[in-house]
């Protein structure tokens, strides 16, 4: 009897676990579902019944989208976010791959010092640096309100972590013999790096790209301090300002929140495998 029960339990177990995971997934997605449900309703309907699937009194509406897009200047802020994220990510990868590679291959004192400083700097919270950053670069040099300033600061903050990861990758995955062969064939060090080493680093490049691009795209505090002009806002900054201005017009807010989430969610649907893999391998190395 007991054995029969056991066999039965074993058979049911996969179904139970599957059901449990469905429930958890629902709970995790729940806040997003609430936004999606409400984005197609009028303000009055949202206020009256935020849980109903379709607006009770005025039904289905698409009006929130064009309205919110116009008010938050969507394509402009989207473009800003895109320019900043892409250029900061590319520069981080180029600079830190070069730097990490060089540190591995040269045991000079300056290299070990730099590497030590970079590792130590990873525990520094941004709060310690924000006042001096704003006062030096903003106050003394007047560099606020330029996208380039933000891009370079993003790179400066992420370069230590990325260098650390490239350092590990070169150390374990790039055989010195390959470079020596290239050198004998007449490559300079610069050519060897770009033609031989850099392409071999592509798994780490993907990891760094995913982690940093997500961080740059979602960052709020640094852009809000550096870019204070309306036409330079990034998506998180414009969401904050939009919310402050229109927090009573809840239909508009719903549309703005969904618009802020949509680009990265769409990207995730296509790149989901790589993103999960990238974050996992980045986490283990970091």
């Amino acid at each position: 009897m007991n054995e029969k029960n056991n066999a039965m339990a074993k058979k049911i177990k996969p179904y139970l676990i599957f059901a449990l995971m469905v429930v958890i997934l629902f709970l995790i997605i729940f806040p997003f579902l609430i936004v999606v449900v409400n984005v197609f309703k009028t303000k009055a309907d949202i206020t009256q019944n935020p849980l109903s699937i379709i607006g009770v009194s005025s039904g289905f509406t698409l009006a929130n989208f064009p309205n919110a897009m116009e008010k938050m200047n969507f394509w402009n802020v989207f473009g800003n976010s895109l320019i900043i994220t892409v250029s900061a990510t590319v520069l981080t990868i180029l600079f830190s791959a070069m730097c990490g590679y060089f540190i591995v291959r040269h045991n000079w004192k300056i290299c070990t010092t730099l590497f030590g400083l970079m590792i130590a700097s990873m525990v520094i919270p941004f709060q310690v640096l924000m006042v001096p950053l704003v006062s030096v670069y903003g106050g003394t040099f007047g560099l606020l309100n330029h996208r380039l300033t933000l891009i370079l600061l993003h790179v400066g903050f992420s370069v230590s972590m990325a260098t650390f990861m490239f350092h590990g990758a070169v150390h374990t995955n790039i055989p010195l013999e390959l470079e020596e062969a290239a050198y004998i064939d007449g490559c300079t060090k610069w050519q060897t790096f770009w033609k031989i080493v850099f392409p071999l680093l592509s798994p780490t490049i993907a990891t760094v790209a995913i982690i940093d691009a997500m961080a740059f795209w979602n960052d709020y505090l640094l852009p809000s301090l550096i870019l204070q002009k309306k036409d330079l806002y990034t998506i998180p900054v414009s969401t904050k300002v939009f919310y402050g201005t229109y927090s009573t017009d809840i239909g508009l807010v719903m549309a703005a929140l969904l618009l802020a989430m949509l680009p990265i969610l769409i990207l995730y649907v296509f790149l989901q495998r790589y993103i999960v893999k990238g974050v996992t391998s980045g986490a283990v190395k970091g």
Binding site: K10, K13, P14, F18, I28, F30, P31, F32, I34, T47, P50, L51, L94, M98, C99, I103, H106, W108, C111, L114, L117, M118, V123, I124, P125, V128, L129, M130, V131, P132, V134, S135, L152, L153, G156, F157, S160, K189, W217, N218, D219, Y220, I235, P236, T239, M254, L257, A260, M261, I264, L265, Y268, R273, I275, V276, V279, T280, A283, V284, G286
Partner: protein, 310 residues
Amino acid sequence: MDRNKMSYRVSQFLIFAGPATLLFVGTVIVPLIYGFYLTFTSWDGVSKNKPIVGLDNYVAAFADKIYWQSMGRTIFYSVFSVIFINILAFALAYLVTMEVTVRQKDKNGKKTVMNRGIWGQNFFRAGFFVPNLIGGIVLGYVWQFVFKRALVSLGNAITQGNVPSLLATSGGAMFCLILVSVWQYAGYMMLIYVAGFMSVPEDLKEAALIDGCTPAQAMKNVTIPLMRSSFVQCLFLSITRCFVIYDVNLSLTDGDPFGSSVLAAMHVYNQAFTYKNYGLGQAEALILFVVCAIIGITQVYIGKKGEVAA
């Protein structure tokens, strides 16, 4: 070319490591040192001269009751968030790497027993990670709507009365902050634990089971000790992230009600940028950094000490 010449070395260093070094020094090292200098001044953020006041800012920081209240809150928030993030993340990782024994008929109609994952494990792994894609500001507003409107309306429908929002009481606001952080980070830490689970060699677990361990014992005595580095990693990441959280705090509660949910990072921001006490704000930020670094590094040190190699 003489490869040992100083000029050759300098030029090579500048070419390869120069850009990264320059930006790293410019954004981290210089501001860190300059910020340390600022703590000895009573700068107002506008005027050219920054009067030196010695240790006054540190004295004021240690006497700033509101600051230490926010610090206490931050520690409370971090302790609960870190514990629940890691418990949930570990459980989720266990679920999405779990294997079950199923009986299947092969082509010839023969019954075979095989181990395989639960259906859709990769799909769930990807799904549980979704909150990490969205920035803290947006998440905070989404949850604010959930707490203020959706849950209130649900509560009203159930009780037929007027249910207040969780965000309206100080205890409730802290609870919401912890809940949102756990919800946000559990999926991220889950991925690290998944990598940890996968790194434990299958044959070790099997050997333990053959030697008479129950699955629970095998988990406790074999799998978890071998995953120690994952725990160190996740704890370090969640502690350092929770300690300096700002954007969710800003968009979810904005410190309300009555400043009862202002965490240390927000207090530092307000001190410097809202009240224009740059020197004091900077001193308080530095204290926050020291507290955070001590906790993080101690944790890593203790964790690494007992690490077992597979």
